[in-house]
């Protein structure tokens, strides 16, 4: 009984931690992996999603509906940003980095001006239950399930739809994709909008567990970037999943044994080691393995 509940608790911690890494990174990784744009406004887009969900909840909308609402609001905002500003910086990675940083400043300060320094937070939906000595939050279990569903949905979107095929082709060779009839401008607008919307969705999902404030997005930026870099760009979804799982597998046991601070130290150290061993990230390693198998006819 006691070992069983300890194992369950460890798995639960691992799952919540991996879900957090994945949710924090998913919007960023779509935009970086599919457009090669380092979106420094990612944290603020998450903040915008959190604000949308919080304001709507306070206005009486059921929380479950505020999450898709946050996706739509931030996706629409992302589409406008792409059309007006971001598309002028394609192919200039440093320019895009600076301009998205500028957008993040405007969004953070604008929120401070408009809504003030704090907003009453919303309470975590659902209760908790205990098993053995440990207690489990129903909401975090839902977040784990949503993360898994999102992974499946994104895999389907990028591997089984026309948009996904065109987006991956445009990422690899935009000029060639355009010369084969792809409306690359439209693909980029959709991709940026999707990445922004996913950041908004994640922000809404994390909102009940966080303090709602104009600069709340900053806390997600570091874990998001670590997840993205460790995952690599060869296959962004596989990379994000592998990296979120691996980082959680390092952080969770250390955190449980020595406290959250040492968990974070172990996480950063692990990221350092992984990047040193696999400079192109986990997904590039996976891809080489897959190529060897497909060439030798095993797949």
């Amino acid at each position: 009984m006691e070992t069983q509940s300890l194992v369950l608790s460890l798995l639960y911690q691992l799952g919540t931690s991996a879900a957090f890494f994945f949710l924090a990174a998913v919007g960023l990784i779509i935009i970086l992996g599919m457009m090669n744009i380092i979106n420094l406004a990612h944290g603020e887009l998450m903040m915008m999603g959190a604000y949308t969900a919080t304001i709507a909840t306070h206005a009486g909308v059921p929380f479950a509906l505020t999450v898709p609402l946050a996706f739509l609001v931030v996706a629409a905002f992302g589409a406008v940003l792409e059309r007006l500003i971001v598309r002028r910086f394609y192919g200039r990675q440093l320019g895009a980095l600076v301009v998205t940083w500028g957008i993040s400043l405007v969004m953070g300060q604008g929120t401070l001006l408009f809504f003030g320094p704090f907003m009453p937070s919303i309470k975590i939906p659902g209760g908790s239950f205990s098993y053995g000595d440990f207690s489990f939050s129903e909401y975090w279990l839902v977040l784990i399930a949503i993360s898994v569903a999102l992974i499946a949905l994104l895999w389907w979107l990028y591997n089984r739809t026309t948009y996904g095929l065109q987006a991956r082709a445009a990422m690899q060779d935009a000029t060639m994709a355009k010369s084969l009839g792809v409306r690359t401008g439209r693909v980029y607008t959709l991709t940026f909008s999707l990445g922004a919307g996913l950041a908004g969705l994640s922000g809404a999902l994390i909102a009940p567990t966080a303090t709602i404030a104009p600069f709340m997005g900053q806390q997600f930026v570091a874990p998001a970037f670590i997840t993205v870099v460790v995952g690599g760009a060869a296959n962004v979804i596989a990379g994000a999943v592998g990296s979120a799982t691996l980082l959680a597998a390092v952080k969770t046991p250390v955190g449980m044994a020595f406290g959250a601070f040492y968990g974070t130290v172990a996480l950063l150290f692990a990221a350092l080691v992984i990047i040193r061993i696999m400079p192109d990230g986990i997904s590039a390693r996976l891809q080489r393995w897959f190529d060897r198998r497909s060439r030798s006819g095993l797949l």
Partner: protein
């Protein structure tokens, strides 16, 4: 004969200056035309201008009688122009199947990627559908690029040195396939080529290009004249 592609007085180039100084090239329906010339005379620039990767600074381009001078590359491709670029332009991380599917947006009016048509010419592709583009050899990539441009039966194929970096036996095979596509399927071809034997097998007519200008037009008899051709292509 109606014109499929008509390039008139084309002036185009890069930030460093113009490469084409008023080039005129005509391809009639069902015709296979070659453009020959030494390295650096503007052959690839001409092809990139034809598909729309480079804007025209003067002159005009018409496809099947419609002026497409101001249209971007994607619009031209959807009208029915299949492009096989120098270096082949295979998407390295897409599978063979996905690379072929990418040809499905060419020739919008048809919208029915015909895999069997491609496998008929390049049967090896059927066994490699799940393999990534980057893992194919140079010759296989050249055939994949042609298959991709072909899959929706375009009205015109633009081919930029498809024989480059391909072993001789495969070059011969590709030449026969292109010739067959042109004769039995009526697909018009504009081919840029340095390999004389390959060009002779495919084209019925040729332009020679030098320093960004058309210097002569060669008919079927002149194409067969190796010495004359060598004069135009020799470095």
């Amino acid at each position: 004969m109606t014109s499929v592609l008509s390039i008139q007085g084309a002036v185009a180039g890069y930030a460093t200056g113009n490469v084409l100084h008023g080039v005129g090239v005509e391809v009639a329906e069902g015709e296979a035309v070659a453009v020959v010339g030494r390295n650096g005379v503007g052959k690839t620039t001409l092809m990139r201008t034809a598909i729309g990767q480079l804007p025209l600074r003067a002159g005009s381009i018409a496809f099947k009688g419609t002026d497409i001078t101001a249209e971007p590359a994607d619009r031209r491709a959807r009208r029915g122009i299949g492009y096989v670029p120098q270096g082949r332009g295979i998407f390295p991380h897409l599978t063979v199947r996905e690379n072929l599917l990418m040809g499905g947006f060419i020739n919008e009016a048809r919208r029915n990627p015909d895999f069997e048509l491609v496998f008929g010419y390049f049967p090896f592709l059927r066994e490699r559908l799940g393999q990534r583009g980057a893992t194919l050899s140079g010759g296989q990539q050249a055939m994949l690029a042609i298959g991709r441009a072909l899959i929706n039966e375009p009205a015109l194929l633009l081919l930029d040195e498809p024989s480059d970096g391909v072993q001789p036996s495969i070059i011969e095979e590709i030449g026969e396939i292109l010739s067959d596509l042109n004769r039995t399927r009526g697909i018009s071809v504009l081919l840029v080529e340095q390999n004389i034997g390959f060009m002779q097998r495919v084209a019925g007519r040729a332009y020679t290009l030098d320093k960004g200008r058309v210097t002569s037009e060669l008919g079927p008899e002149e194409i067969a004249d190796e010495r004359l051709l060598a004069e135009h292509i020799a470095v």
